[in-house]
Symmetry: C2
Subunit: 418 residues, 2 copies
Amino acid sequence: MAKSNFSSAEKWLVKKIHRSIGNAPLQLVLGNGDESGASDGDRTGKVILRDRTTLLRMLLDPEVGFGDSYMEGRAEVDGDLVRCLEDVIRSMRAPQAGTWYGKMISRWLAWAQANTPRGSAKNIHTHYDMTSEFYKLWLDSRMVYTCAYFPTPSTGLEEAQLAKMDHVCRKVQLRPGEKVIEAGCGWGALAIHMAKHYGVNVRAFNISKEQIAFARERAKKEGLSRQVEFIEDDYRNISGKCDVFMSVGMLEHVGAENYKRLGRVIHRAMGDSGRGLLHFIGRNQNRLFSPWIRKRIFPGAHAPSLRQVMDIFEPSDIAVLDVENLRFHYARTLEHWLARFERSTEKVQEMFGADFVRAWRLYLAGSIAAFTTGSLQLFQVTFAGSECARIPWTRAYLYQDQQEAAAEKEPKWIRAMS
Amino acid sequence: MAKSNFSSAEKWLVKKIHRSIGNAPLQLVLGNGDESGASDGDRTGKVILRDRTTLLRMLLDPEVGFGDSYMEGRAEVDGDLVRCLEDVIRSMRAPQAGTWYGKMISRWLAWAQANTPRGSAKNIHTHYDMTSEFYKLWLDSRMVYTCAYFPTPSTGLEEAQLAKMDHVCRKVQLRPGEKVIEAGCGWGALAIHMAKHYGVNVRAFNISKEQIAFARERAKKEGLSRQVEFIEDDYRNISGKCDVFMSVGMLEHVGAENYKRLGRVIHRAMGDSGRGLLHFIGRNQNRLFSPWIRKRIFPGAHAPSLRQVMDIFEPSDIAVLDVENLRFHYARTLEHWLARFERSTEKVQEMFGADFVRAWRLYLAGSIAAFTTGSLQLFQVTFAGSECARIPWTRAYLYQDQQEAAAEKEPKWIRAMS
């Protein structure tokens, strides 16, 4: 279709697509980027639809249609990709946005990718069993694939991932000799950090074969194989007791229908006296995750509302001690990842082809936009069993200098109260 | 019945009562305190039931039966009242604890004391329109009747109430000239504090006539009548716009059935760009408030679970930024109140009689026990509209020295991000 003339019907369809994305303030253009077929609106960018297939796909489902077309190079963005996606997300908050077909696809994906034990294994394999060489290209040196914690916005990624690991360890107040169960341990960075710097014994679970193999190798190199056990198994099969239950970035893959079960697993492990932390991508409201992300990047993913997460805590009388929302920290983390990814696109293209590069660019840029606009949130929830005696008096100790912390200026405990 | 001999049937009934309070580790004794009719169990204290009426009341409903009997001097506690109540609360966590009659009374109270506009007015009048002279006897000098914030457990009550007011003001980052709406303002301490120390303009709502009159007088004395407007009206009738919506200790009186409505009130007032804070007594699970407390002290009160509270935020896409659980701070606050109350019992008895003194002793002691055992929680939830641009980068600024804060070392804002 490129370079051909566009019928007024096609121009009308472009306007229809524009309406289905809430009349976002960008230009939709047919063909090779000239103004023909452009829709109205204050523009911060230009989206170019290269052919009729793209036009039809986006008519049926603007989100998946655009995602797949962008991936295949049939749709392009002229302008800042992140800013354009932010505009679209803001505009699509309108309740009338989207199409019935898109909603149907979204629900179908939720069904087809359900997180049964077998479904989870397949979903996790898809994303995390890609070669670690790929992730090494753009993650930090410790391979932490979750939101970092930036003491200041200008902190570097390496330092921010270290700070995040310390932040969660300090939140649950790890003490030497304690037993920690970690659910969903990635390539093992946090498990190793906890063992090495906090002297705890860790049993870390993950169903990604590739990640577990990587993590075991790492523990061996660090001489921590006796202190950290990496177990290739589903969180549903976690057995044994712990003082602290830690899970950073797994809940997104659990599925809301399994939260009560996860709650039972946590309670069985930590009992009434334990404590723990969940770190996860969340939402203000219960909505399904982006269907394109689920289709192409994270099958089975769900970002829960805080209401949904209460299914984990309520039945076992677990107290929520602290919720921190770090969504801007995830946007910053993703900015670092995207910048590193862009510096490695040649290698990535050699490994997986040009479509893959474009898909992952869209995923990383779209995630930045989702966190900056508040479409996604990042929650850290600290919790404690009903008989837990290790609850800090205030949160001030979290914000003391690391130097002071090193001098073992311990927080005051509730025991000091009476 | 005192001093009479007890039948074996009565002794059997005592054991039955003991079972209905989950076999709490204390002695239940009939008569004047000798061992006759005592139940088994490791004892931390002794509960003496003086007559048959008490026995029957506690058989029907151990909680309300004991509360009313204690109030009337028909039941006594030999030993530390708070510790005994803690034991009972822990024991009554067992699902089989309580009686059908007690559960029926609890539900009946919920219905009879429903927080309709007229019901709320009546409920609030009962508790808060008692003469301020009474509350002056045992609250701090500023008359703050909500959980204080103790930087350390040994901080005094005066200082801790000041620290609490600063804590919530700093959480929402008040700036001079901003508009604040406060829902449920008590005797006006926080409204006046915000105006005086943060330079904001406050419109503060309360349906207690006595408290509003007191607060207005106070603003006048402080020369703040132009900056702080005290309005005698229901939160449902709040109109006008604000930058910050603040409510400390009102949610307990709203009733879960009205949370969606409160959410609409908040959203209407602060729009998508505002921010705010709710401070309230909460729970790990959705359970009704102590029926005796509802019957005698706080009609219509409900301490919500976090799940229930999401009704306020979710429909308007309001983001939860921070949840802090301060239950031990409420226990400490209540310890101060109880100690001061005990020093004023002669005056209280002159004002309201001996039954009133005992009822309020039980309420204060029982509340301490509820917070130390985790039967109740105290949540501060900071929130922001979907377009709010004033979200701090981290929470570190909350824990800087007051001196540093005075030197206007402002927190980093998300605007600094890009």
